[in-house]
């Protein structure tokens, strides 16, 4: 079976892979903030930009899209919830679905889908060690802040996220092979899934923690030496320009 590609670092030769993490991290935060607050016209531009970046990253996009498929269910549910809760012109009387609610829900789902795509791009093009290096580089000068510990927590989180997905897939496949698909009650299906998923995830996390401890893992480690290349500065400048254009798009169009 193909392994899960989402949230895994996949080494490739691409501009996004080689971009210095000290530039990549703040640019990621900026792009996320802009995606959350821009107009619909800006959202269109941002989507085009993210799609172009995804293409340039040389990541296996179809595999990542397959892994992200469960998110679409979540986004669809959010869309329905928005359509249900916001007042306006009813779409399917007497049901309280409104046109305004549906538009707001679709916009929210669009923004969240962009965030997930950006997260997948960052995780796929940047190793945890490099991300930790960037975090330590930024936080070490701040007195009283345990930069190493924060970087460790971030690294562990990124290491453990694919573990939860992998456990989810294994547990759900094991249950499907025993006919869980015939259970109609969604609450019962979730309950049946949750217990073995929690046990498997905690058990694996415990083994990983022991293995890391046995290899002397602490929050005080050495990190790779980082260097900003001229191309990195040019790329960062281009990304900044795009984000400026995304913010301005709503006012100009």
């Amino acid at each position: 079976m193909a392994p899960i590609a989402f949230f895994h670092y996949l080494p490739r030769r691409s501009p996004l892979h080689s971009l210095d993490p000290r530039l990549k991290l703040p640019l990621f935060i900026l792009t996320v903030s802009v995606s959350l607050h821009c107009s619909v016209a800006g959202l269109v531009l941002e989507t085009v930009a993210v799609a172009a970046a995804a293409g340039a990253s040389r990541l296996p996009l179809s595999t990542i899209a397959r892994d992200l498929l469960p998110f679409s269910v979540l986004l669809a549910l959010m869309c329905v919830a928005e359509a249900w809760s916001i007042s306006g012109i009813p779409l399917l009387p007497p049901l309280p679905f409104t046109r305004e609610g549906l538009i707001a829900g679709a916009e929210l789902a669009w923004r969240l889908a962009l965030l997930v795509a950006l997260g997948a791009l960052l995780a796929g093009t940047t190793s945890v060690t490099l991300l930790q290096s960037a975090v330590v580089w930024y936080l070490r000068p701040v007195l009283g802040l345990a930069a190493g510990r924060i970087a460790t927590m971030m690294g562990l989180t990124i290491t453990l996220i694919p573990l939860v997905f992998e456990s989810y897939r294994q547990v759900s496949e094991a249950q499907a092979s025993r006919g869980s698909g015939t259970i109609r009650n969604p609450l019962r299906r979730i309950t049946l899934l949750a217990r073995p998923l929690l046990i498997a995830t905690f058990s694996k996390a415990d083994t990983i923690a022991s293995a890391m401890e046995s290899r002397c893992y602490t929050d005080s480690r050495s990190y790779p030496t980082l260097r900003v290349a001229r191309f990195d500065v040019l790329l960062a400048g281009a990304i900044l320009l795009v984000q400026g254009a995304v913010l301005l798009a709503g006012r100009l169009l």
């Binding site: 392994p3 996949l10 060690t129 990983i208 893992y217």
Partner: protein
Amino acid sequence: MGSAVNGRSRVHLLEVRSLTHRFTDGALGLDEVSFAVDSGELILLAGRNGSGKTLLMKHLNGLLVPSSGDVLLEGRPIREDLAEARRRIGLVFQDADSQIVGQTVRDDVAFGPRNLRLEPAEIERRTNEVLRTVGLEAIADRPPQLLSGGEKRRLSIAGVLAMEPDLVILDEPFSGLDYPGVLQVLEEIVRLHDAGQTLLVITHEIEKILGHATRLLVMESGQLSADGEPCALLDCLESHGIRRPFVDGRGVAGVTWLR
């Protein structure tokens, strides 16, 4: 410290003294286990499931604290300097997937040296050397989840070797591997031993490796029930719940999956 030889104290690389582990529910996991490991040995630790082999392994580099007894590294209790003990005693866990934490093969090998706060040049030197040694150099930039079972097991050994340990302990290194995978790992173990590495291999599949072992330890219900040369223990293995391997005309030396 150490055992007395001709009236003089002999310091072992690793010595386990009356090690006892009692679980929180009162059950006894390890009961007064004592043995020593000397440099250059390739020791097999065998025993049926639940006999306490993995529990013992976790005590050997201080992942667990004993209820009583001690583990000594060159005569000094490991609890006095756990970081040093963990650098010098490398553990290779049974589940390679859970041991591999790097996002590429190279990244995982460099994980230990980074934790030791070595200089970047030294980290690179060790990483390249170990990757070459275990034959993973060509796939150094591949994500570990894409490796075969045998490659993953070799990677988990490489990750420990990069810390340049004095003793490498492997927990069930052949479990879940197909025939080529077993051969890959077995060749690696034999090659390391030939190069002078001290190894403790925990396995119940002794027919794959017994011919290469210098000593055999058998555990049963948390106790060390036998300790001696493989040929001397061969006939009593069944009484300890371990299948006696087939021995051909070459004797115990022929009990191996390597030709």
